[in-house]
């Protein structure tokens, strides 16, 4: 039955997807941007206030946290206006949590695509992150304007900001791979994600500095990868160092990379049954 003279461009058989994963991804790279472009376009088209919504959310959160932690609890913000201190932590948090929240539903929401056409499914899961990066960019500009206005910021450490952003993106990709695949498998997983996002805001140093966590608890606290990232952001923007920051950063880096690699493997393993399962 086998015809050796027939040279095929591609072969379809069981467990094949993994072997041409990279070449497929390269072939469909434009789709990645098109999907992100679609989501960005739709996001700004539907909303009456458009771009303002992106700004309102962190600003409102900032106002509440500044009131609670700064004005009522009187926590220190190292000579930086407390509002900016909070905003600097809010930006990476909104990036990661927003991406997490959206990606976990993105496969289920795009059933019509998954059932009707082939492309690497990773594109669906990750193109969402681009949308949140655009939001992040808008908010970062806002933060820079506010910093200029209030005359704070540390230019000597600013160079490291892209590194911490990169770390946040790695974490985003890792979590989105895991959670999007898990949501296809277990439909109730999105409730867990809701919980993580809600709870995580307080388990991460968004409204406060990580210095307030006492002694031994610190090491448990550092297992949250957001701690290292947010501390890093504050260091890059204002030059604020937190106790044992190197450790929290290292743990965060290891955590993110492990999540990325394991997420990729899990995604690839379950990807081929998405269309049958969804």
């Amino acid at each position: 039955m086998k015809d050796t003279e027939f040279c095929a461009d591609h072969v379809i058989e069981a467990n094949r997807v993994r072997k041409n994963f990279i070449s497929d991804l390269i072939r469909h790279r434009e789709l990645f941007f098109f999907l992100a472009w679609r989501d960005i376009l739709v996001r700004y088209k539907q909303a009456a206030l458009g771009v303002t919504w992106v700004i309102i959310r962190p600003l409102l959160n900032m106002a509440v946290f500044t009131l609670i932690f700064g004005k009522i609890a009187h926590l220190s913000s190292f000579d930086v206006p407390y509002s900016l201190f909070v905003l600097a932590g809010m930006l990476p948090w909104l990036l990661v949590s927003g991406a997490l929240f959206d990606t976990c539903n993105c496969l289920v929401n795009n059933v019509h695509l998954i059932n009707k056409i082939y492309f690497p499914r990773v594109i669906l899961a990750t193109s969402q992150i681009l949308v949140h990066l655009v939001d992040f960019g808008v908010n970062l500009t806002l933060l820079f304007i506010l910093m200029l206005f209030m005359g704070t910021g540390d230019l000597s450490t600013m160079w490291s900001l892209p590194l911490f952003l990169g770390l946040a993106v790695i974490l985003c990709v890792g979590t989105s791979l895991w959670f999007s695949a898990l949501t296809v498998q277990y439909r109730d997983f999105r409730f867990i994600v809701q919980f993580i996002v809600q709870f995580g805001m307080f388990a991460s140093p968004v409204g406060y500095g990580s210095y307030i966590i006492p002694g031994m608890w610190k090491w448990v606290y550092f297992l949250n990868p957001m701690v290292g990232i947010i501390d890093g952001f504050r260091w890059a923007l204002f030059g604020i160092t937190q106790p044992d920051m190197m450790w929290s950063l290292l743990i965060s880096l290891i955590f993110s990379v492990v999540l990325l690699i394991s997420g990729l493997r899990y995604f690839q393993k379950t990807e081929r049954s998405f269309a049958d399962r969804i």
Binding site: D9, H10, I12, N15, L31, F34, R38, L113, I192
Partner: protein, 431 residues
């Protein structure tokens, strides 16, 4: 001819879940079940654990079983079969949406599939934006889409709505745009599911024309449809699937024939014993080796009977009826005046009549046999019915749907008479 697709022993298994268990599980269920299992194992460490209860919950179902066939370059392959025969599963595997359980498909060239028109259209985006998005989803490069943009728009006939969100489109416009994008895909292999079942008749005809064009350009097309008529007019080869297995493959006539034999209530012959003391009819049949006729054919109708007691006014006739039970044409043995008396001498006889299929439009017809003694009694009227479809081998697809009504075909003897030398004033105005 070079081979472009080779399918070897392709199989796909699905697990069907029973007893309210859905295909996807919830985390809560999984955790609680695993927990129960572990508790059981701890409480009864000595009893062997059986997974019988788990396996009885679902049943295996082979959507495709050892499917083998080759497709050559430029073939237009029609895949036919009933619902659930595995056609869609085959397409899904070929377009890589789902993986086969075992077996292999080898493909040469760029393959694109069109399992649905307008896949991934976003209702909020405009027609223009959706052309780019849908093109990218179908695998086109941005430069490619830009190059073909005008062509796509022209084909879809929606120029004036290009900047309207597609949510405001009528469903017809939506379909037209979707098909236009797909039709301009530059792939060597095109897989099409029954997407043409939608849209208005005029646009459907346009789609058919386009698909025919693609086929004649040497593009390989795989076409899945229930509509035997469109498969016959579009494809030159066929694959007939039933319960996941290939029943017939090869020439499209053979496949369609074999499909119809199994699943349509065709009747090309009748055997029995009907009549009275004068005549007994034993057999009636249509001479054909297929399960349908082409318009250019002349099938013979054979009737066998025995005359027991001759009667001068005895006759047999046939009528052609359409499926709405309207008689379209008829003929009787006494129409042949010279030989009529010979048909009804005592003994067994076999008479035949040559039917001209080109007298009829494409469609399904009934032949009813009737037998009577003129003005005295009906011997048989509704008892012997043969049923057969007529298809056109080549048809003018542009007008296909306008004419799709069974009936007598008047012919195509249209001629342009002497051109008028002096056009009238009114004619000049038009010109």
């Amino acid at each position: 001819m070079a081979k472009v697709i080779q399918i070897n022993n392709l199989s796909k298994k699905y697990s069907l879940y029973h007893e309210g268990q859905s295909g996807y599980s919830t985390l809560v269920d999984t955790v609680s079940q695993t927990g129960k299992k572990w508790i059981n194992r701890c409480l009864h460490p000595l009893t062997p654990q059986s997974d019988a209860s788990a396996s009885s919950n679902f049943e295996e179902f082979w959507a495709l079983k050892d499917v083998c066939f080759d497709i050559e370059e430029g073939d237009r392959v029609g895949i036919i079969g009933r619902n659930g025969a595995g056609k869609s599963t085959l397409l899904k595997i070929l377009s890589r949406i789902t993986e086969p359980t075992s077996g292999q498909v080898r493909v040469r060239g760029r393959l694109s599939s069109l399992l649905e028109v307008g896949t991934g259209f976003h209702p909020e985006l405009t027609g223009r934006e959706n052309i780019y998005l849908n093109g990218a989803i179908l695998g086109m490069k941005r430069s490619e889409i830009r190059k073909k943009f005008d062509e796509i728009v022209a084909f879809s006939e929606i120029e004036q709505f290009l900047d309207t969100p597609v949510k405001r489109f009528s469903s017809g416009m939506y379909m037209r745009l979707g098909f236009s994008i797909a039709a301009h895909l530059d792939s060597d292999l095109l897989i099409i599911d029954e997407v043409l079942a939608v849209g208005d008749a005029q646009f459907q005809a346009k789609c058919f024309k386009k698909l025919n064009e693609l086929g004649t350009k040497g593009r390989t097309v795989l076409f899945v449809s229930h509509d035997v008529g469109s498969v016959l007019s579009l494809c030159n080869r066929g694959i007939y699937l039933d319960r996941g297995e290939v029943v017939a493959s090869g020439d499209i006539d053979v496949c369609v024939s074999s499909y119809m034999k199994n699943y349509r209530d065709r009747s090309f012959s009748w055997d029995g014993d009907i009549g009275d003391e004068h005549i007994r009819i034993h057999h009636a049949s249509l001479s054909v080796d297929r399960e349908f006729f082409y318009q250019n054919e002349k099938p013979e109708i054979h009737i066998e009977y025995e005359i027991l007691k001759p009667h001068p006014d005895l006759f047999i006739g046939i009528g052609i009826w359409n499926m709405r039970y309207q008689m379209l044409a008829h003929t009787q043995t006494f129409d042949n005046i010279e030989n009529h008396h010979e048909f009804f001498t005592p003994g067994r006889h076999r008479i035949s009549f040559t039917l001209d299929a080109s007298l009829f439009h494409e469609g399904e017809y009934l032949i009813k046999l009737h037998c009577a003694i003129f003005n005295i009694k009906k011997i048989s009227d509704d008892d012997i019915v043969l049923k057969f479809p007529i298809y056109a081998k080549t048809k003018n697809t542009r007008f296909k749907h306008a004419l799709q009504h069974e009936g007598v075909f008047l012919g195509k003897e249209w001629i342009l008479s002497q051109p008028l030398n002096t056009p009238s004033k009114c004619m000049q105005k038009i010109l």
